[in-house]
Symmetry: C2
Subunit: 222 residues, 2 copies
Amino acid sequence: MARYNPAMTAPAPETVPTPPPGRRERKKQATREALLDAAFRLFGEKGYEATTVEEIADAVDVSARTFFRYFASKEDVALTTQEEQFYAVLDAFARRPPEESVLTAIRTAGTLLVEALEADGRDGRPMSRFDCLMRLTEESPALRAGSMERTRRKNDEMTRVIAVRMGADPETDLRPRMFAAMASTAFMVAAEAHRTGLGGFDSFADALDAAFEVLETGFRDY
Amino acid sequence: MARYNPAMTAPAPETVPTPPPGRRERKKQATREALLDAAFRLFGEKGYEATTVEEIADAVDVSARTFFRYFASKEDVALTTQEEQFYAVLDAFARRPPEESVLTAIRTAGTLLVEALEADGRDGRPMSRFDCLMRLTEESPALRAGSMERTRRKNDEMTRVIAVRMGADPETDLRPRMFAAMASTAFMVAAEAHRTGLGGFDSFADALDAAFEVLETGFRDY
DNA sequence: GCTCAAAGTGTCATGACGTGACACATGTCG
DNA sequence: CGACATGTGTCACGTCATGACACTTTGAGC
């Protein structure tokens, strides 16, 4: 497993679809970011359940109603980050060299990304959203539930990409879907192991690697 | 689980822990059952989200406050059934002959139970809670989320039982936990396939068998 | 049978999440 | 500037969930 991170994504050179964002759009983005920041700061200080939407909105000096125009729910503001991370993994997976097996490609893509995220949180930074979310997910069953449901929905997309690599039809062949779900399972078990200290892994990346190793070895011979 | 079908489990001959349930206890059980019945009837008629706790309580002629003394939440009343089914599988798994592999034992236990549940729903019965719950879970993301989170929590118990069969230490060895999670995954993917018609399985049991077959075959060679 | 304590229930109040309606203000563009 | 679109605040409402307290039923002991 590669241990460091070779320049991951060369963002596809898009055909300048950037109509210079006007003041309105900029303000919107600023508000959104401010809400995210306030939310994670408060979540970190008081916990997820104990933080109310009103507090988040107040911290940014907008009405609670406005909060809900940016995020569908309190859960949403917490899990948006995770959603982005999922797409990062999906993207990295799709870019792995085609000669890699499905499992190897997912494993590599996932591990590299997690390592990058973890490195990001070090060097005295207050606490990355990644780490914060990890703690929140440990603390709140409701959030965990939401997180899993989102993962499940995203698995449709993962399934399609896997099916392409396998040359299988995801509508009739259960394997792509099962593989996607099994990979998600590896992530979730690794997260749980890391959060709760189970297995004594030093990092999420280590736990994830161990989880994938189990997938690699298989289930049959026990 | 069957609405009737008295004592499918030969209850371990316990040392007469049955202090003849008095009128109080009987009334409580009756209320609980009535709430469950009303809930599933309304859920079936109007859907999960559209049914309010007040309606359920009214249907049984108790206050909404009382409802919450029987069930922690609306979700709870819907998923209690599933919880029982989980324990049925866990129990059946634990009773499989010790020479069976972990995977075979889970697969057999799960498939047998699902077949029994499905058979239960046939022959003109209105609609078993099993089927109803399947539909609800399809319809409501919130319920699905809750269902998965509960499954995840239950996996701790499954992990322990698997660890025993493997002779492994669940605190340091990730495998039992991963196997438990993978088995749950098989159930969830099968349920999804069955609900959405994906793969064209005639029954949940068929879908489940196919999902387990993927686990059996493994992930490595694709 | 009577009394008393425990357990179950109803009522009221409260708080948080989430949404619809409508008016206001702030930007965007001709 | 003026017209229009878009974002925001305010108000009202419905639902879930919980705490507090009082009232009733039930079970147990005498």
